[in-house]
Point group: C2
Chain length 341, copies 2
DNA sequence: CTGAAAGCGCTTACAG
DNA sequence: CTGAAAGCGCTTACAG
């Protein structure tokens, strides 16, 4: 590979000038620019990214840290990542996919992360990734609330999960449902904790007693059990319960499908016998299935975009005012899976 | 951030020695090792990845190039990426998500890609990404066959798409189907071209005439139209056709759902009136829906793993023999969506 | 097993 | 607008 010296020599200019032609940080005369560019093309020269990084102290990459061991992309993640990549490329940034274990203590990494900042997906209570990032002084934003981290003023982008659960519960309760089963996300995730609290409050507000069968949590690790979560929890609790559950709130579309399968085996029809509400799923796919599924539009792509924007502010790539906590709007999308009792 | 000089000075050793205790490329005495490690911990020192890269000429990252503009992860991609990340981390490699436009000519990138090698997903005919990679002398492997590139001896990992289509056709034809509609992937993708050829051969082998309504291609760009592909093609062709299509082969699960929705609107039941076969979908989800969907197990995660292994061979991080063309096995998973006519 | 020194390929004050 | 030189923070022959 040709290097800057080769180009400089052949174009009869200094390295600094070649550098300027490519970085455009200082003006270069048209003649020189043209000559440098021509020589570069002949030599197939492109500035070495690593050498540049070493002096600018910027890698032009952001890390997307995904929970290790629980790595499974849902439609939500897809769209989120889509937003992240598109927005990041706007600023010339690339995206490094990173799995850092949420809990287990491994040997410290043998070198620094070659990233300028990070986006943390699905934070958990006492999330180790956040400690690591903080300790290595890497600017980051979390997608979701953080808890028990002992770190001040963490930047977050999030949906209003409290409001989301209230909206869903009010929606279902207004349809006459009082025995609602909630298939929540993983217990250690902060989003689950927020949702559970909101769920309990919503029930209280309508004088509905909270019962043990009402709240369930997704297994932590991606596994056979994880895939069967919706089926198993639905089948086991409905089959062994005296009273009749009339509505299910499902964390995602996969869980919903899985739950529907259990309902079928139990002889229940959706929405005639039981209503089903999906919090975070692929709206397009939910529209296509029968019955089409009522759910929440969380705007995952927008979450991705805003995460990048906020991170860019922290990296001073983006100038101007910004808020450390950005909320992305959400709204109910009514389809055919919820009915009145 | 502490640098190697700080550690060297405080530990009373040379920079080279500090370097050795971290890289472990040359032995260091226990006492020195311990002292260096202790000082490093005190100073919170970690070797600078970029500086190391500059001299070793390795970024320890591989690029995963995803078609730009058509970026939409399916379950297949999810599992593929999962395999890639897991396997790459085995060798200390990270994964950089990269979108390079397949066709449009953009201004050349302002710096080299900070990757040691690349994996190209979903190659198209005359794929620009492959030209770019080749031109920049970045080792790469494609997942899928390449065509019209004028490049010798490209490494590929792939399913045997020819065999897959033959297996599917034989399966359906053995059940008495003779009017089969094929909802293929995007027309410019090499996989689609291979599939179409195999489809035509399979029909010929059974003296079935190929008709215009039989083969359809997914829109190139992720769009509203893209999401409606399965519905629109199914609805429009079945509604306007005299003869009766009795089986549909669908590229992926999303398309299948979408097609089923059209079938419902047309008053057809699966599999009573029409059979449905999914080539590449989320087997677990396909198992959960009603009717459960018959399809192919393409082992996407294994494709990811093998792509990385092959790339590692090309980068000489993996020693020993290897073949430039690796085929991952596939097999039919029978469920409830195909019946005999 | 350890050290001194050169060098990886750029960018960036500084000077003109 | 351009150049000469120092320096980014490591690794790696070379020498001992």
């Amino acid at each position: 590979m040709a290097k800057i010296d080769d180009v400089a020599r052949l174009a009869g200019v200094s390295k600094g000038t070649v550098s300027n032609v490519f970085s455009q940080k200082r003006p270069t005369s048209p003649k020189v620019t043209e000559r440098v560019l021509r020589v570069s093309r002949e030599l197939n020269y492109v500035p070495n990214h690593t050498a540049r990084s070493l002096v600018t102290k910027k890698t032009m990459a952001i890390g997307l840290t995904i929970p290790h061991g629980n790595f499974f992309f849902s439609a939500f993640h897809n769209q989120f990542i889509n937003g992240v990549i598109l927005e990041a490329s706007t600023y010339g940034y690339r995206v490094l996919l990173d799995m850092i274990a949420v809990e287990e203590v491994k040997t410290p990494s043998l070198a620094s992360y070659p990233i300028d900042g990070a986006i943390v997906l699905g934070p958990t209570k006492e999330d180790r990734r956040i400690q690591l990032l903080h300790q290595n002084q890497i600017p980051f934003v979390t997608v979701g609330k953080i808890m028990n981290q002992g770190i001040e003023d963490v930047s977050t982008v999030n949906n209003n999960n409290d409001k989301i659960i209230h909206d869903i519960c009010n929606y279902l309760i207004s349809k006459g449902h009082r025995n609602i089963m909630f298939l929540n996300a993983g217990q250690q995730m902060t989003v689950s904790i927020v949702r559970t609290e909101a769920f309990i409050h919503a029930l209280e507000a309508h004088q509905i007693e909270l019962r043990p069968h009402m709240i369930h949590y997704k297994p932590l690790i991606y596994s056979e059990e994880y895939m069967r979560y919706g089926y198993d929890e639905t089948y086991n609790t409905l089959a062994n319960l005296e009273e009749k559950v009339t509505a299910i709130i499902s964390d995602d579309d996969r869980t919903a499908f899985s739950a529907m399968n259990a309902l079928k085996d139990l002889g229940y029809c959706v929405p005639e016998d039981i209503s089903l509400f999906v919090i975070c799923g692929d709206l397009s796919m939910m529209h296509q299935v029968t019955p089409s599924l009522t759910g929440m539009d969380l705007q995952p792509s927008e979450l991705g975009v805003q995460s990048v924007k906020l991170l860019m502010h922290k990296l001073s790539v983006l100038e101007g005012e910004f808020t450390n906590h950005w909320i992305v709007d959400s709204k109910i999308v009514e389809r055919d899976s919820c009915s009145s009792v």
